[in-house]
Symmetry: C2
Subunit: 182 residues, 2 copies
Amino acid sequence: VLDATLELLAEGGHPALSFEAIAQRAGVNRTTLYRRWGTREAVMLDALLEQGRERVPIPDTGSLHGDLVAYGEAIAKSLVTPETEALVRAVVSSRDAPLADASRRFWRTRLELAREMVEHAIARREVPPDTDADALLEALLGGIYFRLLMSREEIDGDFVRRLADLLSAPPARLKGRRRAAS
Amino acid sequence: VLDATLELLAEGGHPALSFEAIAQRAGVNRTTLYRRWGTREAVMLDALLEQGRERVPIPDTGSLHGDLVAYGEAIAKSLVTPETEALVRAVVSSRDAPLADASRRFWRTRLELAREMVEHAIARREVPPDTDADALLEALLGGIYFRLLMSREEIDGDFVRRLADLLSAPPARLKGRRRAAS
């Protein structure tokens, strides 16, 4: 089912995807899909999650700042495609319970994978061992999605870098870096 | 028009609000409203912004951490009402241009007001003078809205405090505070 969903997404995108098309391609009963997922967006999230496990690389640039910039820019880049934006807006607008569950699964897995960047920074003694990796990643992702969904401001490289500055370095070190750069 | 919108919102909430009802209450032509705002959500955002200018207090607890916790908790609390949540989901799901403009105005003004918390912290020499107030506030608000809209995780006081920990203090100080608390 998930493979069929990914194939159909690649072929026609989010608007073309229906339970009927997925059921036909996967050779399963439409009712089975409906019972398991409830909405087509929930199937899509699970399919994208499965794909992401294999394909979304977690950056390893040698510094937390570099990793956060690379990761944030990859997310920002994925959001400018009309298809992803349409999927995101469809998912966030819904209060459907199976879709909320699929969102929760999706982000729990994505955050767990992304935590590696903070773990590497801890191993390099770049940040203290008790650094709150989840809060840090939710603030980074949150800042990006806040502009997409709430404030409708541009998500450019400069904004991602400013979030990474803030989240990867204490103010004192930040100050030094800015002076060195100017 | 904005007063009429606020009155109607207070009486019946978001679902009950129509251009027709606003036009009638405000004594203006429906077409005028439509031409100026395009969607009922855009009128609501402008009305809430006008109200917020007077009523949403920016906390002044004496520390940046305390201010961020108080501010974040007030936002989180406002989002648990079904009315606000319905309005947020309706706004974020739309690609309507006048609504996007209203969202941009709304958040530019809200962020400008909230910047005061960081300015106070700079004046107290709690954080360096070049602290990126906008990135900090977008990360705080973003983290909260990320849970509401994307990851569907609970937005409790603990989560708000963790974001405030991360954004108000360099890791070294954080460590000290956590040890003292445990």
